[in-house]
Each structure stands twice: as structure tokens, then as C-alpha cells.
């Protein structure tokens, strides 16, 4: 009885082993076949793409001056690739050549395709469509782009905002500025790129007005963007912010950053005043601003800050001393020698080395020229 049971058990194990072997081999063959199919598809896609680029790259390059009389058709499978190349070229050039490239899109019927992508495409197609329509400056899609600028997806909304600015900057600013205030998920670098594209004559005043009316934390965010524009236009709006009571420290730090970037001598006494503020990050901003706009006498304030209790203040003060507009290589060398050995000298030394390293190729270049 036991022998029969053992025999049945071992037969079952053989069957299971056999089944497992066949299954594993089957899976291996399947994966091998699948890999070969994918590889073949990849090679064929690459070849098709290469052919498409070989045909279209010279045509698009020529179209920057004047498009040829006849344009080859674009296969539906190549539309996305075509739009990538077209947009890349659009972003490499400026001036009237951009209009010539737009004519290619219209003549090939791709403008209808991008409108379709905008309405019913995947996220990738929709993003491509938004960027393309921005370059085409197509006002018919304005309401749709305004809706997309309010979309929860940060990529989609940012690209829509950028397209609106490209289509009609003055009209886009009232849409854009409230969005910059609200959207903490927008990449600051992307926002800066949009603001640069819009031009400070359009954005500075609107950002300044919004900062004056906004809650302190949003105002601080807007002031940081405003500082990056380096525009003097908003300064008359922003200066009265400092008279507000209570004055939020983030807003004060944003104002000092803006004053430093704009370097208007009228703001120098205010910046000096805040170099002794009890909050460390206000002193950091004051030191940085002094480095950009300070005069000879401000080196004494900055030297004093080299002894600050907070490391960041000492660091920014040292950096500011090395880039102070009135500072020369000789004065800086003398200053390092006169400082007592210790933290003050220690923190200034790398900035001195950096300054001399930068002035070295300048001297070499001048001698070569």
C-alpha cells in the first residue's frame, strides 16, 4: 500500500516537473519572440524616423528663409515627430523667420491636426499642440488655452500660460499674474522663462500691483519673481510696502532682493538700515543687495557682517565684499591681509580666490587679443 502511494507521489512529481519545464521553455521562447518583434519594430520605426528627418530637416531649414513651392505629405505616424522638429527649430530662431515656418504648418494642414490634438489628444499630443499653437499665434484657441492654463496638471497649465503669452502678451498678463500667485506647483524656473518671454515692460507693473494687494506669503513669492525681472517699473509701487505695519519679514526680504537687483541708489539707505535687522535672513538679503548696489563706505558694513552670529550672513557678506562695485583686486588683497586670522579671513578667502581665478583668463585673453 505504502509502495503504491510512493509510486503515485513520485509520478505526480515527475508530471509537475515536466509541466514546469515545458512552461518555462514556452515562456522563454515567447519572450525571445517578443523581444525580436519589438526589436524589429524599433529598427523599422528608427529607419522611418530617419527617412522622415532626412527629407524634412533641409526643407524646414530652407523654410526659415522661404518654404519650397511643393511640400511632401506627412504620414500620420510621423506627425508627432514632425511637430517636435518644427517646434525645436521655432525655438532656435526669432524674427520674421518664425512666420515663414508657421506657413509650413498651415500649408501641410498640420494646423488642423494640432487643433485636433488640443481637443482630443493624449497628454503628450496636447502639450505639443499647446506649444505649436503658441508659436502659430492662433487667437481662435484662446478660450481653450485659458481653460487649460487653469488645469490641475502643472505641465499642461504652464505650457498653456506660455502659449497665451506668445499669442497676445498684454491680453495674457491679467490671466497669468493671478495664476503665478496661486500656483505653488509651477516650477519657478518655468515661470521665470515665461516672464522673460513676456518682457518686463508687460509684467513688472502687473506683478508689482499684485504683490501690493496679495497676502504676505504670496507677495513674497511675487517679489522674488519681480526681482528676477530687474525692472525699475515696479519700484514706486513696492517702496510703500516697507511702511506697512506689521511688515511681514518674507515681504521685507523680497523687497530687499528686488532693491539689490534693480540697484537704484535711492534705495541704498533702506538697504543699509536693514543690515542690522534682528532676523538673520533679512541681514542676508541686505548683505547681498549691498554687494550689488553698495558704494565705498558700504565695505565697512559688510566687514562688520563678517562677524555675524549666523553663518549665512557671514557667507553672503564675504561674497558681497568680493563683488562690491567699488572693490578692486588690490583693495580686496589688502583687506584680507588686514583682517585678523580667524573666521572673518577664513570665510572671505574662497571669494578672493574666485575673483582672482576669474580675472586671470581676462588678463590672458586681453594679452592674446
Amino acid at each position: 500500500m505504502t509502495a503504491v502511494t510512493d509510486h503515485t507521489l513520485s509520478q505526480s512529481m515527475i508530471d509537475v516537473g515536466w509541466l514546469a519545464t515545458v512552461t518555462i521553455h514556452g515562456l522563454i521562447l515567447f519572450l525571445l519572440g517578443w523581444t525580436l518583434i519589438i526589436r524589429r519594430l524599433r529598427v523599422s520605426t528608427d529607419r522611418r524616423r530617419q527617412q522622415m528627418m532626412t527629407v524634412w530637416r533641409p526643407i524646414l531649414a530652407q523654410s526659415v528663409i522661404e518654404a519650397p513651392d511643393t511640400l511632401p505629405p506627412i504620414h500620420p505616424r510621423d506627425r508627432v515627430l514632425f511637430l517636435y522638429v518644427w517646434n525645436h527649430l521655432q525655438e532656435s530662431i526669432k524674427g520674421e523667420s518664425s512666420d515663414e515656418l508657421c506657413a509650413v504648418i498651415r500649408r501641410t494642414g498640420m494646423d488642423r491636426v494640432v487643433r485636433h490634438y488640443l481637443a482630443k489628444g493624449t497628454l503628450r499630443q496636447q502639450l505639443l499642440a499647446i506649444v505649436t499653437l503658441g508659436h502659430l499665434k492662433d487667437p481662435s484657441v484662446w478660450p481653450h488655452l485659458v481653460d487649460l492654463a487653469h488645469d490641475a496638471n502643472a505641465f499642461r497649465s504652464l505650457e498653456a500660460a506660455r502659449a497665451l503669452v506668445r499669442i497676445d502678451t498684454p491680453r495674457a498678463i491679467p490671466v497669468l499674474v493671478p495664476l503665478i500667485s496661486q500656483r505653488a506647483d509651477w516650477s519657478p524656473l518655468k515661470v521665470l522663462a515665461i516672464l522673460q518671454g513676456a518682457g518686463d515692460e508687460h509684467v513688472a507693473h502687473a506683478l508689482g500691483e499684485a504683490a501690493v494687494q496679495a497676502d504676505p506669503l504670496i507677495a513674497a513669492r511675487l517679489l522674488r519673481f519681480l526681482a528676477s525681472t530687474r525692472s525699475h517699473r515696479a519700484l514706486p509701487l513696492i517702496r510703500p510696502l516697507l511702511d506697512r505695519q506689521p511688515l511681514h519679514e518674507d515681504v521685507l526680504a523680497g523687497c530687499l532682493s528686488l532693491f539689490g537687483q534693480c540697484s537704484d541708489p535711492r534705495d541704498l539707505p533702506i538697504v543699509r538700515q536693514y543690515s542690522a535687522h534682528p532676523t538673520w535672513f533679512i541681514r542676508v538679503q541686505a548683505a547681498t543687495a549691498l554687494g550689488k548696489m553698495g558704494v565705498e563706505e558700504d565695505s565697512a558694513i559688510l566687514i562688520g557682517l563678517l562677524n555675524d552670529v549666523h553663518w549665512w550672513v557671514r557667507y553672503r557678506a564675504a561674497e558681497a565684499l568680493s563683488v562690491l562695485p567699488t572693490m578692486t583686486d588690490e583693495k580686496l588683497s589688502l583687506l584680507v591681509q588686514t583682517l585678523p586670522p580667524g573666521e572673518e579671513r577664513h570665510i572671505l578667502t574662497p571669494f578672493v580666490a574666485k575673483r582672482f581665478e576669474e580675472s586671470l583668463p581676462r588678463a590672458t585673453g586681453l594679452s592674446a587679443a
Binding site: 531649414a61 528663409i65 530662431i93 523667420s97 585673453g365 586681453l366
Partner: protein, 132 residues
């Protein structure tokens, strides 16, 4: 690649890695009457500098693979035959520090991408007239 000087056309060494931009520049500059020698990265540009006769002008992208335009600049300026060749830098953004460094190291001018094709060809012709 034929790098021998052409008797009629001014030769221009172009170091640019982005294929689309290189293709556009090649079209624009050939149309403007230049013969283009193209290097798609910094190392190939360095090899060309070692082997070819000094061109009429160098168009150098700052951001190049393997060796940047800023590293190539002193290399070019240290070659006796190449010291007077005008060099125009191409930069993807208006990074003041890079531009200052390029001009201090021996570049004659720079253009920021995106560029106006007509402005680019006009600037190149101006340098060629000065060099002539």
C-alpha cells in the same frame, strides 16, 4: 571630411552639437556663400583645429559634448596661426558669466539662441570684411 581651403569661398568652422540647429546653420551659411566644416562635439572640433588650415571664421557653441566651447577658446587662441581668426560664440541662454568669460578669453562676439538668421549672417559678413 574635406577641410582644404576653397579658393573662392570663405571657410567657416562650425562646432554645434544639436542636429536641427546645425542643419539650419549649415543651410543659412552655405546659402550666404560660406563653405562649412562641421564638428558635432568639442573633441572633433579640437581634432579639426589641429589638422585644418585656419578658417575665415569660427562659430562655436558654448555647450558642447566632451569639451565645451569655453575650453576650446584658449586652445584656439594658443595656436599661432589661429590667433587672428574671428570667433563668434553661440549660447543657449544669456548667461552673463559665460559671455563675459568667453569675451575675456578671446571670443570676438556672441549670439544668443534663439537667434535671428538674418542678423547672424549679417554679423558674420561684418567680421569677414574686417578680417579681409
Amino acid at each position: 571630411m574635406n577641410t582644404a581651403p576653397h579658393p573662392d569661398k570663405p571657410t567657416l568652422l562650425m562646432a554645434e552639437d544639436e542636429e536641427d540647429t546645425a542643419s539650419l546653420l549649415k543651410f543659412l551659411l552655405e546659402r550666404a556663400g560660406y563653405r562649412i566644416v562641421h564638428a558635432p562635439d568639442g573633441l572633433q572640433a579640437q581634432q579639426l583645429i589641429d589638422t585644418m588650415a585656419p578658417p575665415s571664421l569660427v562659430l562655436l557653441d558654448i555647450m558642447l559634448p566632451h569639451m565645451s566651447g569655453l575650453q576650446l577658446l584658449p586652445y584656439i587662441r594658443n595656436k599661432p596661426d589661429w590667433q587672428r581668426v574671428p570667433i563668434i560664440m553661440l549660447t543657449a541662454d544669456s548667461s552673463e558669466h559665460d559671455i563675459q568669460q568667453a569675451l575675456a578669453t578671446g571670443a570676438n562676439d556672441y549670439m544668443v539662441k534663439p537667434f535671428n538668421p538674418r542678423e547672424l549672417t549679417a554679423r558674420l559678413s561684418r567680421f569677414l570684411k574686417i578680417a579681409a
